[in-house]
Symmetry: C2
Subunit: 381 residues, 2 copies
């Protein structure tokens, strides 16, 4: 295989974009990514999206977006892996360029969730869970995460307030990111008093859904030797339903995919300068930090309590606001994470710039840990 | 890139499988493909599927199928390109193996449509069309194809009965394929008298929806030098909506993807011994024959009238029954086509064996021509 780099990136603000059709949202990000890359017509477009069928009554989505982006004719498909769809599409883009059969591939993630055709977004999101053994019994997706968080607190003796740091950090970072949806900083006191959604998950533990799109352009690294490299790319899976897992408090698909990218890159957790993790719920932040090798089992919240995840901390996390405050247009999230790493590594992160950023990790989770796509990005050495 | 071969294949009968969940349907095909390949644990599973979210309330589908197939942990994603989803997934599997990053990839297609959760299958299929400019106005998917067929008849002077040969051929071939859904031969007289669905498309012009799954295992060709090769693999796109096309009677995405696979293989239409085309509607058979270089513009029906598409004809078409009579579980169809080519090329097609079969073409269409994935398969020379 040949090494792959990112030539450019684009993103839309995450908002309630009621006036913007899904094809336009995606095209905005695609065209910005192409423009910043100097690529007029890529060989292919891969689109990460979870819910266009359920919420927008639109499949054949990638062809639609290709056409609306002025790219009629090019190879295009949609990739679905629940909330991990974005990074799932990126993985396939990396393989396509690595194969040598394609030269430039634009990978976009898009989701439009807030003005759905009278459909129930909560029910749509529950399709990330096991339809027959979880959702059919009325278990919502947030309910599944609440079960996980409660068990984690029980097992390791954490109190709810111990998770506050994840939310406070994300909101603080989002306040300086004009693409973010929730730009209000929050305090520990506000976190403690937030409205309960599914005990123990309250409003400030949960990422907001939103409308948005992000895109990156991939090319062979030889084409642009100074560009940000994909040092590692991997997807791993686990059971979709929680009750099938031998150890539900270990994200085994995160362990496997993170170890795979470390192996591909010849690097380890100590080499990672910042981590865009999948904080759909606070509990996922803790589990992701542990699975990726940054904290011992059961000790994820310690990193937030000790201030290690801040922009000046040992391992800056969710540097542009994370899912929690940048917003979580589900199928787009994995690409937003990579766009944010790209901005950090190319010194375009503005007030949120992590000074020493040379290697960044992105982890995108589909379901309660069923599909996890991990990417390691870095500057050429 | 390195050449890719097919190690083995599996398929389920296409039926109304009300008692079989989608995960089990897919696993049946995956396990048969793995068993026949001698591969215990592939590196990845790519799943072609269009409607699991809409009809089965299940996304995160590929992880679910991986787990149910005993492959928990492996890389897995779903690929969507409307009715072209199956061959879309195959294309990405080919790129993955070609990259050298993965060795064995099982590519499955699955759709379960006949006992949907109270949802309307006709409305779900209309998500293959443009939601805002076609479906929102009440235009069904069969309606779009009826517009195409009417225009074609007007433009080239064909009568409805001139298309009978496509349906008669498909049903004759399906009668000898025990995986097929409709195994009754039909006559020209029955075709002429069939119930009208959307004028001029009648019941015997239209493929039946069904439940089914098919799978193939891909590997580097060097691993099995005598195996069937993927000689060419390509996807091209067009506008999703019909009214946006400059020339709606030319499947430009079929022209582009077919020319691409011919170019990759160094072959042309004269080298093709049989053609699995996407006969969702009779009109698509005609347009696909023309776009792939087998007939002049407007002359596709002539090949059926002249008996050229029969098993002993110049270009056997839909040799195991096609979408029309084998059945059309939409996201699985592209893989069924390739499984059927594999059976033909490996002399396992039973009574439907095409004697001289050495090179076969498969063309899978998403929407009314928006996404077209074409694959050329052949025996090693």
């Amino acid at each position: 295989m040949r090494p792959v780099c990112i030539l450019g990136a684009g993103q839309t603000p995450i908002r309630e974009h009621w006036d913007t059709p899904i094809r336009q949202l995606a095209a905005d990000a695609v065209l910005e990514a192409l423009h910043s890359s100097g690529v007029a017509r890529p060989d292919a477009l891969y689109v990460g999206n979870m819910l266009s069928g359920e919420l927008n009554r639109q499949e054949n989505l990638a062809a639609l977006i290709a056409d609306w982006s002025g790219l009629r004719g090019i190879e295009a498909v949609k990739v679905e892996a629940a909330c991990g769809s974005g990074a799932g599409a990126l993985r396939l883009g990396v393989l396509a360029v690595a194969s040598g059969m394609l030269d430039t591939v634009v990978v976009a993630g898009v989701e439009k969730m807030t003005d759905s055709f009278g459909h129930d977004t909560t029910a749509a999101l529950a399709t990330a869970a096991d339809a027959d053994y979880e959702a059919a019994h009325g278990l919502s997706f947030i309910g599944i995460n609440a079960l996980l968080m409660r068990r984690y607190m029980h097992e390791y003796g954490w109190r709810h307030e111990d998770f506050a740091g994840f939310s406070v950090n994300a909101h603080a970072n989002a306040a300086r990111n004009h693409f973010a949806m929730l730009r209000e900083p929050v305090t520990i006191k506000q976190y403690a008093r937030a409205r309960m959604l599914a005990d123990p998950i309250n409003l400030l533990d949960a990422a907001p859904t939103g409308d948005g799109a992000a895109a990156v352009v991939l090319a062979p690294a030889e084409r642009s030797p100074a560009s940000v490299r994909i040092l590692g790319s991997a997807i791993a899976t686990d059971s979709v339903s929680l009750h099938e897992r031998h150890d539900p408090l270990c994200l085994s698909a995160a362990v496997a995919s993170t170890q795979a990218v470390y192996r591909q890159a010849g690097l380890g957790p100590d080499d990672v300068d910042l981590f865009e993790l999948h904080d759909a719920f606070s509990i996922m932040s803790a589990l992701s930090l542990e699975a990726a090798g940054f904290a011992e089992r059961g000790q994820g919240p310690r990193m937030a309590l000790d201030g290690q995840i801040g922009l000046r901390g040992k391992l800056p996390v969710c540097t542009m606001g994370g899912l929690k405050a940048r917003g979580h247009p589900v199928g787009a999230t994995g690409i937003y994470q990579v766009v944010e790493l790209f901005l950090q590594l190319t010194r375009q992160a503005g007030e949120n710039q992590v000074e020493r950023a040379r290697v960044g990790l992105a982890q995108n989770i589909g379901g309660s840990g069923a599909t996890i796509a991990t990417h390691l990005l870095g500057l050429p050495r």
